[in-house]
């Protein structure tokens, strides 16, 4: 493939997000450290298990599909500006994911899964250099995975990769009917966990090919060391209860990163707060880390809500910031840790994180499990 692939590294040179806690990297980070949450009561037209959602405080008068595009453009442009990258350069690609986006809203008359991404690409000046992904709650992390492969192959030098998603009335109804929505609050890995709560937003990471030894260049947030994914093959919603595919995804990403589990200092967990998913995920961590020095676990859905197709990208950004700032934000919503989780959980205080390698895991409906390994050189 790429002639000098042995010396190719993939640097993260730009970050941006739009979340219920805000848009500035520093402001949102500070709010995470204070265990703040963006979940707020929002009246619904019909009875739901909960009225809590984590909304982006903009474009509320637009249709869901229009909000998806606007949030996507707004965030991707900021990521590119952060990376000081001109998107009109022919070697720049957009890779973007969502779950359902605005598709199931009655206002949406479009059945194309790609149109929204094409609009974002056009606004960025990228023409047709865009790949769209839809792998449920792993869409954001799969976008990063695909961007990395495009760079490794030489098809792109720079990829702006991320996920975008919006809360809609239909999604709230559906999760309430499915029983995946918590009637109380979102408590990742808590013994009293009883479901998830929806959020929305976007996260984008700019990946750039670097050749030669990895450097601590001032515009490099982190190195994307490896990616791995696996499928539960267990149906449309319920995860593989033993977490085998999630473990496989993590092991695959670590092999791709050419490092072993003992070198991982921090894990950004999926931590959706649903009992089945939390348990499957806990079993996956046990399978991967039981015989190694244990990494710290962080989980941010209690803060952002479950942002569906955006979650993988948003959580990857949290991981990178945690590695750079050498500390792990507390898990909002967690008070009584599940016994099944035998890794240290960042609970009520900010914990130091001295190792430079971290892993971000997402689990999506349909069995899409994706793991990304990042390193901040120490």
């Amino acid at each position: 493939m790429v002639a000098d692939e042995a010396s190719l590294t993939i640097a993260v040179t730009g970050l941006a997000w739009t979340t219920a806690l805000g848009e500035s990297l520093d402001t949102v980070w500070s709010r995470l450290l204070r265990s703040e949450t963006g979940l707020r009561p929002e009246p619904a037209r019909h009875t739901l298990r909960s009225d809590l959602t984590a909304r982006v405080d903009r474009w509320s008068d637009c249709t869901p599909t229009e909000r998806l595009k606007r949030i996507g453009v707004h965030t991707a442009l900021r990521a590119l500006a952060d990376a000081k990258t001109d998107p009109r350069n022919e070697s720049v690609w957009l890779v973007v994911g969502t779950s359902l986006g605005g598709l199931i809203s009655p206002e949406s008359h479009c059945d194309s899964l790609h149109d929204w991404a094409a609009v974002i690409a056009e606004e960025l000046g990228l023409d047709e250099r865009v790949v769209s992904i839809s792998t449920a709650c792993s869409a954001g992390s799969d976008a990063v995975l695909v961007g990395a492969e495009l760079i490794r192959s030489g098809m792109a030098e720079v990829c702006v990769c991320g996920g975008v998603d919006v809360v809609t009335a239909e999604k709230r109804l559906a999760h309430s009917a499915l029983g995946t929505m918590s009637p109380s609050s979102l408590r990742p890995f808590d013994r009293r966990h009883d479901g998830t709560l929806l959020g929305e937003g976007a996260g984008f990471l700019v990946l750039e090919a670097r050749r030669g030894p990895p450097s601590s260049a001032s515009n490099t947030y982190a190195i994307l060391r490896g990616c791995g994914s696996a499928n539960d093959a267990s149906g449309l919603t319920a995860p593989d209860r033993d977490g085998r595919a999630a473990a496989q995804a993590m092991l695959r990403s670590l092999r791709d990163a050419r490092c072993d589990a003992s070198s991982v200092g921090l894990v950004s967990a999926h931590g959706s707060g649903t009992p089945l998913s939390d348990l499957a995920e806990a079993r996956a961590y046990k399978a991967v880390f039981s015989k190694t020095r244990k990494p710290l676990i962080i989980a941010t859905k209690g803060a952002f809500g479950h942002t569906l197709g955006a979650t993988g990208a948003i959580e990857a950004i949290v991981l990178v910031l945690s590695l750079r700032r050498k500390c792990a934000p507390p898990i909002a919503g967690l008070e009584l840790p599940m016994e099944e989780v035998d890794l240290p959980l960042a609970r009520t205080m900010i914990l130091p994180c001295d190792r430079g390698i971290g892993l971000s895991l997402t689990l999506g409906f349909g069995g899409f499990d994706t793991s990304l390994v990042f390193e901040v050189p120490r």
Partner: protein, 204 residues
């Protein structure tokens, strides 16, 4: 950049088949029960994969945790989505139809029916622009041993069956004795052409 990608390879096309009659009754009861309301395309893709698997020597094992699947196509699961759009204003969404409305569900039947637990992706570009990235990702997975085999699949609406699918099985060029060596661009062009007319000579 795209020119470079088109000439990358070779990758081994091990087998290729289409779905024909994606009769759901051919699938085990436990699969049909687990994936109710899945889009016809999901059944067609699973059927095409099944035809590929049956065409291989009995000694070949193309299931398990090192077999991947990438589906390419921009069409949403129309029936499930229409159902959700139709009932939501009245305050009700069927949980099963909601799950089937998820675009990623298009891979679920194939993964469950054929025990595909390797890396999977749903690239939602039109096939004309999504096939090459799909081929590149497949090739990278094979090259770095993140998968031993990768199925590439796409589909078309069909009046008779609801959907028809085609599926190509790729392996590393050095891995198997049988197969046809192709550049990534050839495989991508084939998928793009098939997505326009649905009638081409098999690639292998």
């Amino acid at each position: 950049m795209i020119h470079l990608a088109i000439n990358q390879g070779p990758v081994l096309v091990v087998a290729h088949a289409e779905s024909g009659d994606a009769d759901r009754s051919r699938f085990p009861q436990e699969v049909r029960a687990a994936i109710r309301y899945a889009d016809p395309a999901a059944w067609a893709i699973a059927a095409a994969l099944g035809n590929v698997i049956r065409s291989l020597p009995s000694s070949s094992s193309v299931t398990g945790s090192d077999v991947g699947l990438i589906v390419i196509g921009e069409n949403a699961p129309r029936d499930a989505i229409a159902s959700v759009r139709g009932t939501a204003p009245n305050g009700y969404v069927s949980p099963l139809r909601f799950a089937a409305a998820g675009p990623g569900s298009i891979l679920s039947v194939a993964c469950l029916a054929h025990d595909l637990r390797g890396p999977t992706l749903n690239i939602t570009n039109p096939v004309s622009t999504g096939a090459l990235p799909a081929c590149i990702v497949s090739s990278q997975w094979l090259e770095r041993s993140l998968a031993r085999f990768v199925f590439l699949s796409t589909w078309l609406p069909s009046e008779r069956f609801g959907a028809r699918a085609t599926s190509i099985l790729l392996a590393q060029a050095q891995q198997m004795a049988a197969g046809v060596s192709r550049k990534l661009g050839e495989v991508a062009s084939y998928l793009a052409d098939w997505s326009l007319c649905g009638r081409l000579e098999p690639l292998a």
